[in-house]
Symmetry: C2
């Protein structure tokens, strides 16, 4: 009986969060311009109510009572209760006053960031960023656990429970060094692919239609979702039976839409694969941001980034753009879209340089939170890191330290999950190839459902039952390793660059 009460309480919170997600989706897709002000306050109210309920003392008491008699529940119910209790305790750590102060500082920082970015002037952002940084340091202290290593660990934990500086430092070191070695080999011995035929106009309607076909092929369920256009692509879920994605179209850049749709499609398959019966409960939620990103990256990099994928799909693409792609072969196309070059903007980076961008942010965040770097040194530190790691130096902060929304939005500790996602993706994909011996030939024939179904069974339907690391152990027989991703890159670019 009181498990039902617990379930009802959590599902009511989820209803409020889902409503928030619908309002947010609408804001990014269909909302008329003048609706912004009232929409913002509606979102704030829903967020406040959901948080009140998540922190309510009655919920804490209920959880404690249930846990005191937990042997009467099924293992799955016990796991839900344990995870909810962890979440509840984590939510208690910050007082409502502190949360409100953070929210105010974030609003201020976001407004300043937008202005500074437009004006290409970091100094306009420095003061609000310093205030927000001080608050995030404070948050990190409040959230810190006994025996915790680095202060930054407290923030990393919000997005990936098991992430710590002690674990991430060697990962990013190995990743950066592997990438630098690969790039050095390519520079010394590689032949860059031709990509001039991508410099055409690719009309929006055909791009969109093709992106829908690719999603269908992946097994994205259009009766439980839809794709719309927005400035920044995203995935949002209102429950496993209504998971929507957005994409963008650039007629000068064919892969912008296709890449976004496939990436978001990977996130969406995870959400569509969660158990509806566990709606609102931990076992109906994704493990972590890293594992979420592993699903988008697995489809984007390991599936759609493979030659086999384009062997199957290129004919159709060519039939949609016959003049633009006239005389081009599948292999030429595959090589062209994998052309590597350093650039300033993370979200436009190729899959190799991408992780150098992320690594820079990880190091800077760690130093900022740890007190080894202050905001007035940040722009210089950023530019030096880009010069050192990518060999390019941004000549204005719009192309540099002001490019990402994360810091102004208070999302400190988030960036590393982007790289962890790629690493998990390659490691999971290696396990998929073992479990599905026909996988490569299936991909080459456009048969993607066996892979989707394997991911669904092995990852999606498990919800938060296992931690990221345990899941990785179970699936791959070992903890997270950088080797799989580096091997993927080495094998792929050796062929493309002929070295």
């Amino acid at each position: 009986m009181s498990y039902q009460k617990y379930k009802a309480a959590l599902q009511e919170i989820k209803d409020l969060q889902a409503a928030q997600a619908v309002l947010h989706w609408d804001m990014e897709t269909f909302m008329p311009a003048k609706g912004l002000q009232q929409r913002s306050r509606q979102l704030a109210s829903l967020g406040r109510l959901a948080q009140e309920k998540a922190q309510a003392p009655e919920l804490g008491e209920l959880l404690q009572n249930l846990l005191a008699q937990k042997e009467q529940f099924s293992p799955a119910e016990q796991r839900n209760l344990e995870l909810s209790w962890e979440d509840y305790q984590e939510a208690q750590k910050l007082s409502p006053q502190f949360v409100e102060q953070l929210s105010l500082l974030t609003s201020k920082a976001q407004a300043a960031w937008q202005k500074a970015r437009q004006a290409k002037d970091f100094s306009l952002f420095a003061q609000p960023l310093s205030e927000l940084l001080a608050a995030k340091r404070e948050e990190a202290k409040i959230r810190a656990k006994a025996g915790q290593g680095h202060l930054y660990d407290s923030l990393l934990r919000s997005y990936e429970k098991e992430a710590t500086v002690a674990r991430l430092d060697p990962i990013f070191e190995q990743l950066s060094s592997g990438i630098r070695q690969l790039l050095a080999k390519i520079a010394a011995q590689g032949t860059p692919p031709k990509k001039e035929f991508l410099n055409h106009r690719f009309p929006a309607d055909q791009q969109w239609a093709f992106s829908l076909e690719l999603l269908e092929q992946m097994g994205y369920d259009f009766e439980a979702g839809r794709q719309d256009a927005s400035t920044h692509p995203f995935t949002t879920s209102f429950g496993a039976e209504d998971v929507r994605i957005t994409s963008r179209i650039d007629e000068e850049d064919l892969m912008s839409c296709l890449g976004s749709s496939i990436h978001e499609g990977g996130h969406a398959l995870y959400e569509q694969g969660l158990l509806s019966s566990e709606y609102g409960l931990p076992l109906g939620e994704a493990v972590s941001l890293s594992i979420h990103e592993s699903q988008s990256r697995l489809w984007e990099q390991n599936v759609a980034g493979s030659e086999a994928y384009w062997q199957h799909n290129f004919d159709r693409l060519q039939s949609l753009f016959p003049s633009q792609l006239s005389g081009v072969k599948a292999q030429d196309f595959y090589r062209a879209i994998n052309y590597l070059a350093p650039n300033f903007i993370r979200t436009e980076a190729d899959e190799v340089h991408y992780h150098l961008h992320v690594g820079i942010r990880y190091q800077l965040e760690k130093q900022l939170i740890g007190g080894e770097l202050e905001v007035d040194q940040l722009e210089a530190a950023w530019n030096e890191a880009y010069e050192r790691e990518l060999g390019i130096r941004p000549d204005n902060p719009q192309l540099g330290v002001l490019q990402d929304i994360h810091w102004s939005a208070g999302l400190w500790g988030y960036f590393p999950t982007y790289s962890l996602g790629s690493l998990y993706a390659s490691q999971f994909f290696a396990a998929a190839k073992k479990a599905l011996p026909e996988l490569q030939s299936q991909i080459a024939q456009g048969e993607l459902l066996p892979l989707r179904n394997w991911l669904r069974k092995e990852i999606h339907e498990k919800g938060r039952h296992y931690s990221s690391e345990t899941l990785c152990q179970q699936l791959t027989g070992q903890g997270l390793s950088v080797e799989f991703f580096l091997a993927y890159l080495e094998e792929k670019y050796r062929k493309i660059y002929n070295f």
Copy 2:
């Protein structure tokens, strides 16, 4: 200070209601099929939370405290407090248990209604309808006021505070009798207009584009709203700066889309004209359903139902459908779309017969609530009333007693507001013509903003400051009168039918 607290409390309730409205809009427009179940529970949670807050004892205490010192507030603030106190007391009348029981009975009745309608078998609906009727009678008793005449008055009041059987009986009698006389004259002396040229296919895209142009012409603000497609057209507001309408398209019936867009556009202008500064407060709300309907009807019947309107707009319409409307003159078109004929379905009725449909429902509801009619007699009573009033007898209940959603949805007392809306519309429009001497020629030139601005100033921006009757007195110098609408019909159809 505590007026601010009151305002924040009401605006939080409004935020929840607006979120509900967004989720409902999305459900009717873009939601994928499988999303229904989770969406339903999200809507239910938002509704329950909004109701809890509207009935919270703290809100009652706050209102009483503020009203006890009301002289310190501005007249507008005092009016807000008074109306909120009325609303609060009304909300207190039904216990949460009773509201929940009503909601359960309604869900049951709606499911049964859908089945019965599809099977064309009233008996499948009879039992759940009886149970719901018993509950609505109970609700009417609980809501009854001292000295109240008919039990039905309690339900009428939910949609139009000043509506009572004592007031509505003579109104519907005069309205029906006037309409019957007009129809008799037409039958005896009139010549029906030709309408064969409407029997064409009118492609959807042009219809939609034209409907957007007509909305623009009315002064509907597309930066504070949008039009989408749905099965049943409706208007919804998430605050005055985001007011959306939906329309439908039938390629065989040109006026279905245009008529719906104009009608909903009228509702939307009301919502867009409410004061954003009074968001969530009574002075930021529409007076009543009747006055709301007066705004849709004024645009649909008195503006777009006039020859002047089509003198201006027909050329553009003809240019969109050159082959279908080849050789047709504006006057021919105007006459054709005003062809009168009795039919079974209220929502497809012409503006003359429409009120006979409404009158029948009013009489039946009154008798059902009053206990003079029972559910097992309802189908027969319906069919007899149609034979008597419209001269046609439905041969199955899908075309008869099962056509409307209202009774199964618990919306008892709602129907009369449809006719009151038309009556107020004609009376308000007469006042507008006095206030704006150039109005007719402005309409003939497509200049509709003077009318919109007059309505905004005289009605929309006043919110709930005045009751329907007081507003009518102020605007027209007298209480609601059936004469204006009957005069409108007489003058219009005398010309169209040449008698």
